[in-house]
């Protein structure tokens, strides 16, 4: 039932618009809370140096090394820029903040470091070894474009922890799909040490999954059969830990595991069913 509702992705923008209006109405009714970003510096600049990587589930591709983690953000009363995301805050209340956010889709990054591999194909029948060999065929993961997505994001927190709800739709005409996501996290602090576990799930529509993880008819070959990826749910869990040496310097460590949906894992383009990201190093906040 839930999935059938979510499959009506044509209505997502309408839902987002209604969500936005409801959030604005809620903000007006509550009289709004303190203006965001007024008590702290508008800019947040930081850099972490260490070692880490994000595994790449795409075939014939390299894992993505992470040696530097930059943090560049600016927060105004309504507008904000957060490491590539551009947002406009519509509602700021005692318990939640709702913003319109424009971002770049994250799936595209896996298609940046690919290699061409030549495979020799043979035809076997009845368990008999290949009788006829054909010329090596190039197998190259297809190119995919970046997508600009627009959506609504609500940040909710309380004594129980913090939750993030997101709904994004492609507005660049790249995949024409959408993504819904929900995350829960809670930070624990003792002395100079803090750690924050996170769990979450993201539902990716059939159009989004098929654009990035499907093998389109014009890309199909003997080595890479045509595949249509449907909608699916990714689950993830992670942990970020910090030890603070001073206001500016800390030792940071993070690990995040994302289990990809069966629709993605079933694609001939994937060779792993998960994405594992980890990093540890020294981080400086200016």
């Amino acid at each position: 039932m839930l999935f059938s509702i979510m499959r009506a992705h044509q209505n997502l923008l309408k839902i987002a618009a209604l969500w936005s209006l409801a959030a604005m109405a809620c903000g007006q009714a509550a009289g709004t809370g303190p203006a965001p970003g007024t008590a702290e510096k508008s800019w947040r600049l930081g850099a972490a140096f260490g070692y880490g990587q994000r595994t790449n589930p795409l075939i014939q591709s390299d894992d993505i090394p992470v040696l530097v983690d930059l943090d560049i953000a600016w927060f105004g009363k309504r507008w904000f820029f957060d490491n590539g995301d551009l947002g406009f805050t519509m509602h700021e209340g005692a318990r939640s903040t709702t913003s319109l956010v424009a971002r770049v889709n994250s799936d595209r990054v896996f298609f940046a470091k690919t290699n061409t591999r030549y495979v020799q194909l043979g035809y076997a029948a009845n368990g008999v070894p290949p009788a006829q060999l054909i010329n090596p065929a190039p197998v190259e993961p297809p190119d995919r474009d970046y997508a600009i997505e627009l959506g609504v994001e609500s940040l909710i927190d309380g004594d129980w922890g913090a939750a993030t709800l997101r709904a994004f739709h492609d507005v660049s005409g790249t995949h024409r799909g959408y993504e819904l996501a929900a995350y829960y996290s809670r930070r624990f602090t003792t002395g100079r040490f803090s750690f924050e576990p996170t769990v979450g799930a993201s539902y990716k529509s059939d159009r989004l999954n098929d654009y990035y993880w499907g093998v389109h008819p014009d890309e199909a070959s003997i080595a890479l059969p045509e595949y249509h990826a449907g909608a699916g749910l990714n689950f993830e869990g992670g942990l970020v830990a910090n030890y603070y040496f001073s206001r500016n310097l800390r030792f940071a460590m993070s690990v995040n595991y994302e289990r990809l949906s069966d629709e993605i894992v079933g694609s001939p383009l994937t060779e792993e069913n998960h994405v594992l990201a980890y990093f540890s190093g020294l981080a400086w906040t200016f």
Binding site: E40, D71, D82, Y183, T189, S194, S246, Y278, A283
Partner: protein, 134 residues
Amino acid sequence: MPKHVRLMVLWAFAVGLPAAAADVPAARLVVKPLLCVTDRDTPACSMTFEIRWKSEVAADYCLNDSAQPAPLRCWPGATTGTHSQPREVNEAFYYWLGIPGGAQRAAEVKIDVLRLDSADRRRERRMRHVWDVL
């Protein structure tokens, strides 16, 4: 010596003498710990500060807390001293060493407070960019 030169010398002494009289011998102040980390669940730190100071000149020294009007402790004619102080911390402050009743500081150490929670919850957004793993 010309009259105007003598006047200039006298003026220089007149201006310089009060400052010299109020000078506090330099000292070295060491305090541990230096940082308090607060969060939504832990808005204050309960800390015990171990404070040591040392000077090459024996004098009357007082240890002060910038958040309190009265000195914490004074040492008459001393060149060194130690002090232990339990304290609740939720704002940055200074420990400083000076002479009794004086405002001039022979040495000071700032106790910093790092607040992890923010009034602007957008600052705690969770990213998922390839380069952003923290």
